[in-house]
């Protein structure tokens, strides 16, 4: 062919490579003019095709439902999931109502392949409790299949709304299990079993749906081409540990046993065993590592057998689960029939044989704390930030708090949520959602830490405040004052814990504030007082000279800023009292009176009033004014109860016990002490559920000794408290001393010797050898040994005590003289023998 073909022919070739005769095709391929013409025409045709598809596609990509699936009329949308959309439909020929599932929208080749496998597998299964497939096909490129239409609820809705009894729930579960067992026998593993994939019809019959992620055991499909290595299919909350951590090769029928176990758990407990909030990595960590709580923890109706069945089904190690769905179903049947089950109570839930009652603050309280915190923070930002960032940050804070609160809703975490749990959640949420806003993160950590400290939980406050400091430090200069505020709070929390690190932290705060603020600023006074508190809270090497000077300056600062009735000045006075020697008792009394009246003149309840009342009571007690002391303690305990509930009760009982002892009523003092120790044990039992029963039993034995002759188990109780506190605090040792004193007075020596040895050890570690309280303990021990006629053993203790007083240059003090007297008595006693 010599002449070039006309345009029609080129266009025809672009549409169909086989168009035209051979000669024309050969010419076009060879001709320098025609080949580019064809190429252009081909590109035009391709673009036109693409534009045609775009022009016809509806704007909403998921609305691309083929309007007509041959033979069916589509009606409303029923469900939408990752693997397609389900419409109710009617088969035109039979007028039969059915459901049509189709793979809508923009889909990848892998998704299409998976959908085809679902159709194939679903067609293979015929079971009354598995949804049956009628028909399938491809319409306008969209694969679809028609199946039985189940009028009913999803299993989770049914469980919530049907009001079914435990027996009815278990019977329904048995039917679901039988259907799954059938699928397994036909070589199909479901892999995405969850309540949303199980429908319950009006007659209470279940139907399992959605084999969209199913796995064909025999054909080993989906092949790697369909499921990429490590790709996880299914819903996270219902995934088995091996689905979350493995490469997919470990998935077998036991994976479905796990999911079925979760379905059982949720049916009987009303919730999942793990918290499924937070980031994906959090959930994965929990599901793969944390052991599950027994379902009876959430539903009192359940017993140990059901706990054992559910927990065996959801064992993390597939080898320890029921090895088949039938085995699980059989145990549920045996349970219903009242015959023995195969699962054995094992692992962690044995320790839960006695129901644990945890002290829970209702969600409302937690919510309130956080809302207040959030509002304050919002306000803080409005105040501190430049205008442009202001609204953005305030909104960020609000949304994080909202997230925390919605994640902590009762539906998600059980009927009531412990304050602590909400806070833990808050901590995580801050890490997650505010990674890019360290200033907001710092402010929120600071609020949480401050709230913990205000709730008298300084130990928990410290890590939050440390993180807040890190954030502000990383932000540099403009945030120095925030950094100082943070350091101040961290230092106070550390002081509460008698931690020496409080001192350098407060020094940082004071240095920053002195540098950044005018010298009479009230925050400088605050930092001076805080540094003094840090100094006075130490066990060893208390620099009371420096503390005294700082408190003096702080008091002047507060007075100049807010006058004589300033509560901050009042608090400063309470600390000044601590620095005064006994000889200045009158000045102590005056300062305490001033402080107390300042607190009382403020309109609201200042928590520091409790401190003032207690200090004033102790002073009155030391002056022999027992009635006044009792009256002040009564007021203190009223206020403490109003502000903190039971949190301070132990401390107050101890104060009453000391008062009784000072009045000479050792017997009442001893009784109260026992009550206080018992309370403390019970308080710990709610924080350590795994030790709860032991601690509560111990508390009971303390309060009601078995026989009148039996001594209460003091030593055991203190050993337990010491272990719980992580090796015992100074306060604990003081407490032991107090009890030892009452017991010496009551001549009930046998109980106290181990107690004193314990106290001695704690003192040595906390405060070194020269601590006066330790010397007092040594004397008590010597006195006790002496009284028992064991002067030989008492001798070294008393000698050490006397030698220490001499070394400290205090050999003429009343305490030293008393110790020397005891030593003499002891020497006489041992020479008698």
């Amino acid at each position: 062919m010599d002449s070039c073909p006309v345009r029609d022919e080129i266009e025809a070739l672009a549409l169909d490579a086989a168009a035209c005769d051979t000669a024309t095709r050969e010419h076009v391929a060879a001709c320098a003019r025609c080949a580019p013409r064809l190429e252009r025409a081909r590109r035009d045709t391709a673009l036109l095709r693409e534009l045609r598809a775009v022009g016809k596609a509806p704007r909403d990509p998921v609305a691309e439902v083929p309007s007509l699936i041959p033979g069916y009329t589509l009606e409303r949308e029923l469900r939408r999931g990752g693997q397609g959309v389900v419409h109710s439909a009617r088969q035109q020929a039979t007028r039969r109502a059915c459901a049509v599932k189709l793979l809508d929208g923009v889909r990848t080749a892998r998704e299409r392949r998976r959908f085809e496998i679902e159709i194939e597998l679903a067609c293979r299964l015929r079971h009354p409790y598995i949804v049956s497939v009628y028909d399938s096909g491809v319409a306008a490129g969209v694969p679809w299949f028609a199946m039985e239409l189940v009028e009913g609820q999803s299993l989770d809705e049914w469980a919530r709304e049907s009001g079914a009894s435990l027996r009815e729930r278990l019977e329904l579960f048995g039917r679901i299990a039988s259907a799954l067992a059938y699928a397994h026998r036909r070589g199909v593993i479901h892999r995405d079993l969850k309540p949303a994939n199980i429908l319950v019809d009006g007659e209470g019959k279940p139907r399992i749906l959605d084999f969209g992620t199913a796995f064909d055991v025999e054909a080993q499909r989906p092949s790697p081409r369909v499921t990429a290595p490590g790709e996880f299919l299914g819903t996270l909350a219902y995934a088995a540990p091996e689905q979350l951590s493995g490469d997919g090769s470990e998935i077998d029928t036991r994976t479905d046993v796990y999911a079925l176990g979760l379905v059982l758990y949720e049916l009987i407990a009303g919730r999942l065993p793990h918290d499924t909030s937070g980031s994906i990595s959090d959930i994965v960590a929990r599901v793969t590592r944390e052991s599950a709580e027994p379902p009876s923890r959430w539903n009192e109706e359940l017993d140990l057998d059901l706990d054992a069945i559910a927990l065996t089904a959801i064992e993390k190690d597939p080898a320890r689960r029921y090895q088949s769905v039938q085995a699980l179903a059989r145990d549920v049947e045996s349970y219903l029939a009242g015959t023995p089950i195969q699962a054995r109570a094992q692992g962690p839930w044995q320790r839960f044989q006695k129901r644990i009652v945890r002290h829970r603050a209702p969600i409302a309280v937690a919510a309130l704390v956080l809302v207040i915190g959030g509002t304050l923070l919002g306000a803080w930002f409005e105040e501190h930030q430049r205008a442009e960032r202001q609204r953005e940050q305030a909104a960020l804070v609000r949304s994080v708090f909202q997230d925390i609160l919605s994640a902590a809703s009762p539906q998600r975490m059980g009927a009531d949520v412990r304050l602590l749990e909400v806070f833990e959640l808050a901590g995580r949420s801050i890490e997650d959602s505010l990674r890019d806003a360290p200033d907001v993160q710092g402010a929120m950590e600071l609020t949480i830490g401050d709230t913990y400290r205000k709730l008298l939980r300084s130990g928990e406050a410290v890590p939050h405040l440390r993180r807040a400091m890190d954030r502000f430090r990383s932000l540099g200069d403009p945030h120095d004052l925030e950094l100082a505020r943070c350091a101040n709070l961290l230092g106070l929390a550390l002081s509460d814990l008698n931690d020496p690190e409080a001192i350098p932290v407060q020094e940082v705060a004071l240095a920053i504030r002195s540098r950044e603020l005018p010298k009479d600023h009230v925050l400088i006074a605050e930092s001076r007082r805080s540094l003094a508190i840090a100094l006075l809270s130490q066990f060893k090497n208390v620099d009371s000279v420096r503390a005294t000077a700082l408190l003096e300056l702080a008091a002047e600062g507060f007075r100049a800023a807010h006058g004589e009735r300033d509560p901050d000045l009042a608090e400063t006075k309470l600390w000044q009292v601590r620095t005064l020697p006994e000889s200045e008792s009158a000045r102590c009394g005056a300062l305490l009176d001033e402080a107390l009246s300042a607190f009382e003149s403020t309109s609201s309840d200042d928590p520091r009033t409790i401190q003032a009342l207690n200090a004033r009571a102790a002073w009155a007690q030391s002056r022999g004014d027992f009635e006044l002391a009792r009256g002040l303690l009564d007021r203190s305990s009223d206020l403490a109860r109003r502000l903190y509930g039971d949190v301070l009760a132990t401390d107050l009982i101890r104060r009453y016990a000391r008062l009784a002892f000072a009045q000479g009523d050792a017997s009442t003092a001893e009784q109260m002490s026992r009550q206080a120790v018992a309370r403390e044990l019970v308080r710990w039992s709610s924080r350590r559920p795994e030790e709860g029963p032991r601690l509560r039993a111990l508390a009971k034995r303390l309060e009601e000794p078995g026989s009148p002759a039996a001594e209460p188990p003091y030593a055991e109780a203190f050993a337990a408290l010491r272990a719980l506190e992580g090796n015992g605090s100074f306060e604990l040792a003081q407490w032991m001393n107090g009890i030892a004193m009452t017991l010496v007075a009551l001549k009930r020596g046998t109980a106290i010797e181990p107690l004193l040895h314990e106290a001695l050890e704690i003192h040595c570690r906390a405060m070194g050898d020269d601590c006066p309280v330790r010397l007092r303990t040594i004397e008590l021990l010597g006195e006790e040994l002496l009284a028992e006629g064991r002067g030989g053993e008492a001798l070294p203790h008393l000698e050490e005590s006397v030698a220490t007083y001499e070394r400290l240059g205090e050999s003429q003090s009343p305490e030293a003289l008393r110790a020397a007297g005891l030593l003499t008595a002891c020497r006489e006693n041992s020479s008698d023998h």
């Binding site: 266009e11 036109l48 990509p61 929208g105 499924t276 994906i280």
Partner: protein, 190 residues
């Protein structure tokens, strides 16, 4: 300045270029909403995602460094919309969001997913088609619609309109050329 030589992304750096912003919204609003829908959000949630993204974009575009970030507007927009979709999917109310979706978007490598690529192309084509439809003559458009929407062949169009095939080819070529121009300026291959 000659607006036709500037890309849409360059033009919207000027807040006062209303026409550019209009085009920008017409193009990206359906894209953002569509992606949210494809990822399994309800129509109202998808609208929320779209609006939040657009609000942010209008604040950021005037300072968007297009030259330096050439070609990465697509990735930037993807990260933005993906983040908003994840936020919504993570809400407790939608706790049973398909894990596959969640994991796909948590992918550390930030690889654009296939759906985004497909939607991106589709919405850009749609936009180019709309622009071409508005800028060409009514006659050309009529021919083109017959070819495009009614799926007619060239002889059929000739029969229907009374034009000869040369005129039909010419109308088709003009529209396609215009479409290609628009796509070129949006950085989309055609």
């Amino acid at each position: 300045m000659d607006t036709t030589r500037k890309t849409l992304l360059q033009r919207v750096r000027d807040n006062a270029d209303h026409e550019a912003w209009e085009q920008f919204f017409a193009l990206y609003a359906p894209l953002l909403e569509g992606y949210a829908r494809v990822m399994g959000l309800s129509p109202s949630d998808a609208e929320d995602v779209r609006d939040e993204c657009l609000a942010l974009i209008t604040r950021r575009m005037p300072s968007f460094e297009y030259e330096r970030a050439k070609g990465s507007f697509k990735a930037w927009l993807y990260r933005l919309v993906r983040g908003k979709v994840v936020d919504l999917l993570r809400r407790p109310a939608t706790v049973q969001a398909p894990t596959e979706t969640l994991l796909a978007i948590e992918d550390r490598e930030n690889a654009l997913d296939e759906r985004w690529e497909a939607l991106w192309r589709r919405e850009h084509l749609r936009h180019a088609l709309d622009v071409a439809r508005k800028s060409e003559s009514a006659g050309s458009i009529e021919v083109f619609e017959l070819l495009l929407i009614d799926d007619l062949s060239v002889p059929e169009v000739c029969a229907r309109t009374g034009l000869d095939s040369r005129q039909v080819y010419k109308a088709k070529a003009r529209i396609l050329k215009r479409v290609r121009e628009v796509l070129l300026r949006l950085g989309v291959e055609a």
